[in-house]
Symmetry: C2
Subunit: 291 residues, 2 copies
């Protein structure tokens, strides 16, 4: 099994056992835990946790120490998807090839599931016995500010619907909405193992290129990939009148732009004080992803 | 000025300066910061921060150290009110004598404001330079699990609408929906100053009595207090077919029950290793509140 598949299996199993360990709430018709599980265990690429595990592996081989950060970042990501899919937000009914959370449990339950997941993300790090308190505080500081920035990004996303916008506004939106959490996935893996400031700053620069590349690539794949591979509706940006890189600069230039950004990201890695082959490999795989 | 009013002014001013310190987001039509400010600075009793300051004062006089916890607990409370008021949830249009957040900014923005506030609550503690890392981790652990329990309580609240329920289910709902966060306000104040385990456990027991008393009293006040004093609609429980203590055991028995619970709470305080006069005074004031 390839290392990225191992990381994916690992975070899936950690998420399952973490959510299953939440005590059931007597007298409830339905458990918040189960509403969250429906979305958390629906699959997904687990790209953020894979990034965290990969970056952490550059600095330390003790994989158990990375589990709580890998789970926390995915819980924040899933909470944002549940809230983004709500009728008042992006109004999407399919996610990861299954009905969106609110289509199954109703809007109120979906709002609460997102709220609960955000709280759990902080809880899973604060209660991890393997990490020192001073490191945990740094991790929570990064996670909480990234989670806030992501909400700001979603606000910009809502404000640009049906508008002709400048490529810079789109870039800023992507940096906040998607970039902040990708950046966070990468930083958590480094800070967890007390990486030196210079390495953290190189990884931040790597993350900024990678995050924008990933999102422009998402815009491109939204146009070129069929529903069943995307796990959601094709052409959702165009259908919703959302500006995207292809709609502003065209498909070919968008592809060129994201490939350049991936290359810039890879170039950064040579400056790290540690060997970065696993991260370079992952970046190359991302560049050639088809969904 | 009475000490509780001083605490209220203090937390109002800390919340204002904290939210105002969030950098503005260029290219946004509207700032997430301003949507949050609308609800956070709308007033309110600030009962939770007052509890945190009061408990903290029993153990230490250094009030600056309590500011971040006082703000964090209020941010979690306000986020829950914004989400509870949404049409998909309790569908309330008035809060603190002004239109609910979603009535002014729309549902999507109100969801994001709640999400952002929850993230900020953790951020404000993790970034506080006055508190040691090991204490901060304990505080975040308590805050995150209370925030999760509160979401579970809201789920039960939604499930009991229009149902004939047992008083035990109502009690469990209150303990999760309101009790968890009140309990948290009290524990934060003690843990912040490294109170010994015995004192923390006495305060937990105090908090359990106080939390239930407060909520039953809320049920009573919902029936007996006019809109303008409540800051929201009178009789909202009955209008929404929500079971409440008065609807199950009657108004007189509900009043007796909450008064007894306040007395039980006060009785606990005599076992503390520190002088508890300020907390006794606050409890007595709560017992006689009229809104």
């Amino acid at each position: 099994m390839k290392i990225h598949d191992q990381y994916r299996e690992r975070v899936n199993s950690c998420l399952d056992s973490y959510l299953s360990s939440i005590p059931s709430s007597p007298n409830s018709d339905i458990e918040l835990r189960d509403i969250m599980k429906y979305s958390v265990l629906a699959g997904g690429k687990r790209f953020r946790p894979i990034l965290t595990y990969t970056v952490a592996s550059l600095f330390d081989s003790e994989i158990e120490k990375t589990d709580s950060c890998a789970c926390a970042i995915e819980l924040i990501h899933i909470y944002s998807l549940i809230h983004d899919d709500l009728p008042a937000m992006d109004d999407d009914d399919i996610r990861h090839n299954q009905p969106a959370n609110h289509k199954v449990f109703g809007e109120a339950h979906a709002i609460l599931a997102g709220d609960g997941l955000q709280a759990l993300a902080f809880s899973i790090i604060s209660s991890d016995p393997l990490i020192d308190a001073d490191i945990k505080i740094k991790l929570i500081d990064i996670l909480s500010s990234s989670s806030y920035t992501m909400a700001e990004g979603q606000l910009i996303d809502l404000s640009v619907v049906s508008k002709k916008v400048d490529i810079n506004i789109l870039k800023q939106m992507h940096q906040k909405k998607t970039g902040a959490l990708l950046n966070c996935s990468i930083k958590l893996g480094a800070v967890l193992h007390n990486a030196n400031e210079n390495d953290v700053s190189i990884l931040e620069s790597f993350a900024n290129h990678l995050g924008l590349a990933y999102q422009i690539q998402d815009d491109v794949l939204d146009v070129t990939t069929p529903d069943n591979l995307l796990g959601k509706r094709q052409n959702s940006d165009a259908v919703k009148n959302k500006p995207s890189y292809p709609s502003i600069i065209g498909l070919d230039d968008s592809i060129k732009t994201f490939k350049n950004l991936y290359q810039n990201a890879i170039d950064e890695l040579s400056h790290l004080s540690v060997k970065s082959d696993p991260l370079r490999l992952l970046t190359n795989r991302l560049m050639s992803r088809t969904f």
